[in-house]
């Protein structure tokens, strides 16, 4: 394996040196800049609810949540369809699961089948979805969508994913940085990244600075015009701009302190250290539970199952799956090419930071840090990437 590189293993892989990681679908300049007061945001949520347009937003999780004994200082949040402003948890704790579930649900029907006469009748699942809007999603969750678009439109255009993407208008929320697990700025993003967003909210005094980036974003604002105030030219507008930029700058500085890596040498190290002893230092701690993949905004693997509903009819579904489980690669013969957790955890790191970048020109990670926060055994992705980067740097120095 040592002489073989990923270029030989992945058909059509680009040369590592020539990858352009510029976010080609990032949007440089906002088209319109408006103010949305807290009261107007509440009115907007009410308006959407009244119109029957699902509005997905970070919201306070139910009281049951974690049972007694949890030390959670703050209440947990989740993305869900909200019906009133009281539910909103903008800029509070990062939601437990990412936004992924609204585009790739934990389970969804692909088609149903029914015995009919001598044959089988197939009925496709609907591939059109009602329009929905996402308000206040974290930039790391939003940026994951255009990254995953690439695999969802690679050898097959995934109708369900694409239709949900097309039906959704997304307004991100500039992030104040969650904690030491965040590292978006180490994966070509930043706490106010606009990638994947039709518009962006940034907290300012009295509400949010709203910027639109796409036709969808423009259309949404136009549809609720009375609630948005065009940012006045002159001193007032400039003051709000300065507030928003101050918020973003503080966040950028904070997250940059968590991790910095050189992706070129990181990738090169991964490509030439498939059997490195480093991997055996990560596997033992790992439970192989795949919580990291469940909470990950970019992990997109699914399993396909056929489930009978009754005699002569059934449903084919796809369900979230993860490379961290033993059975993910178990062959019918009994052979398992990834025999232990060392190999499985290596796969997680290689897929995100070597294979996907070479194949699709994007790192399959937005630095949200959910995997590190959710891991029951303390696996810390920022630490692991820093360790690999240090190994790569040491290797460069030695050669």
């Amino acid at each position: 394996m040592s002489d073989e590189t990923i270029d030989d293993r992945v058909e059509g892989a680009a040369e590592a040196e020539t990858i352009d990681f510029a976010n080609d679908d990032d949007v440089a300049a906002p088209r319109r800049r408006l103010l949305l007061t807290h009261e107007a945001l509440a009115a907007l949520v009410a308006e959407l609810a009244a119109a029957g347009t699902p509005a997905v937003a970070p919201a306070w999780a139910g009281d049951a949540g974690r049972a007694a004994g949890a030390t959670a200082a703050a209440r947990e949040t989740e993305y869900r369809t909200v019906s009133g402003a009281a539910e909103l948890a903008f800029g509070e704790r990062l939601p437990r699961l990412s936004l992924k579930q609204f585009f790739l649900p934990p389970t969804e029907v692909l088609f149903s089948w029914r015995r009919s006469g001598g044959g089988v009748e197939l009925v496709s699942a609907p591939t059109t979805f009602e329009d929905q809007v996402v308000l206040g999603a974290r930039p790391c969750d939003v940026a994951a969508l255009p990254i995953v678009d690439k695999v969802m439109n690679w050898d097959y255009a995934d109708e369900l994913w694409n239709a949900r993407r097309a039906a959704t208008t997304i307004f991100g929320l500039s992030c104040g940085v969650e904690d030491d697990s965040c590292f978006c700025s180490a994966v070509f993003l930043e706490p106010a990244a606009s990638r994947g967003s039709d518009g962006r909210l940034t907290p300012v005094e009295g509400g949010y600075l709203v910027e639109t980036f796409t036709d969808k974003g423009e259309a949404f604002v136009a549809g609720h015009d009375a609630l948005f105030t065009e940012l006045a030219a002159g001193a007032d507008g400039a003051a709000l701009d300065a507030q928003a930029e101050g918020f973003r700058a503080a966040a950028r500085e904070r997250v940059a302190a968590n991790l910095q890596v050189d992706h070129g040498r990181l990738r090169d190290w991964l490509d030439h250290h498939f059997d490195d002893p480093f991997w055996a230092s990560l596997g033992p701690r790992c439970n192989g539970c795949g919580v990291c993949a469940s909470v990950c905004p970019t992990c997109h693997c699914f399993d396909i199952v056929d489930e009978p509903e009754s005699v002569g009819r059934g449903v084919r579904r796809r369900n979230w799956d993860t490379c961290q489980t033993c059975v993910f690669t178990l062959h019918a013969s009994g052979h398992n090419p990834r025999q232990d957790q060392n190999a499985r955890f290596r796969q997680r790191v290689e897929h995100k930071f070597l294979i996907y970048p070479l194949k699709f020109g994007d790192v399959l990670c937005t630095g949200c840090g959910r995997c590190s926060r959710a891991c029951p055994t303390g696996q810390d992705l920022a630490e692991i990437l820093a360790d690999i980067d240090a190994l790569a740097a040491a290797g460069e120095a030695a050669s």
Partner: protein, 292 residues
Amino acid sequence: MTELQDTARRLLDEGAVRVVIGWEGGRLGARPAFVTSAADCDRLIFDTRCVHNLATFLNPRRSQVAGLGKAAVVVKGCDAKAVAGLLREAQLERDGVVLIGVRCGGVVGEPSALEPPALTAENVSSRCWGCDVREPGSVDVLVGEARPEPPVTAALDERVAALDALSPAERLAFWTKEFSRCTQCYACRQACPLCFCERCIVEKTEPQWIETSPHPRGNFAWNLTRAQHLAGRCVGCGECERACPVGIPLGLINRKLQQVVYELYGYTVSEDPTVPAPIGAYATDDTQDFIR
């Protein structure tokens, strides 16, 4: 702490074991550590953040751990109970592992603090209420000072009682809502020291006993089966609930099962591996007629 580190160092130096499985402090709090060199033993800690049940790593199917060689494992009371479970169910040879017991005064719910928090009724793990193994007995070495009793909190039992007081329809509604978040990721199973099957029933497909799709039918089938398979075996360490990425209160189910097993068989999960569990014992005074 020094006593723990010295013990680990001695075991590695003498060649009695090849790895010491304990806890270390990290950038994001406490976490399991696998120390293979005597020089690294100063990493080992034991404090109120050491919540992980280290018996989980003794599952013989975890080849990446078994491959490290003979292990010494640091055990607090709930870990020691889980080790006893593994011994009772023939997953482990007693002389195949060295047990370093630590005296425990309770742990917090989550390990993610940079310094060990002082225990309060609010932050103490629900597992610690009524703990009967604060000083593991069936270990090879016992280290650490005796610690004070953990703060009293009966929150878990109060919540179980509140559920018991509901009508069956209300209880069904409660669990339907809780299980609706389940994605069938099986993190609860992976975190459990007693879920050690080579092939879990949920992974059997000929026939398929449990639907793996996270719809209400599949989620009830999975969660009820998980619970049933742990009746009389669950040590109440709460690691399943801590691992759950969507916050399902599995501790309520496990506690209820403990109560039912006690009512039916007078059995409380024991730290002594020679005390048979009801599931693995035949008794002429069994409360159920069909088995007598």
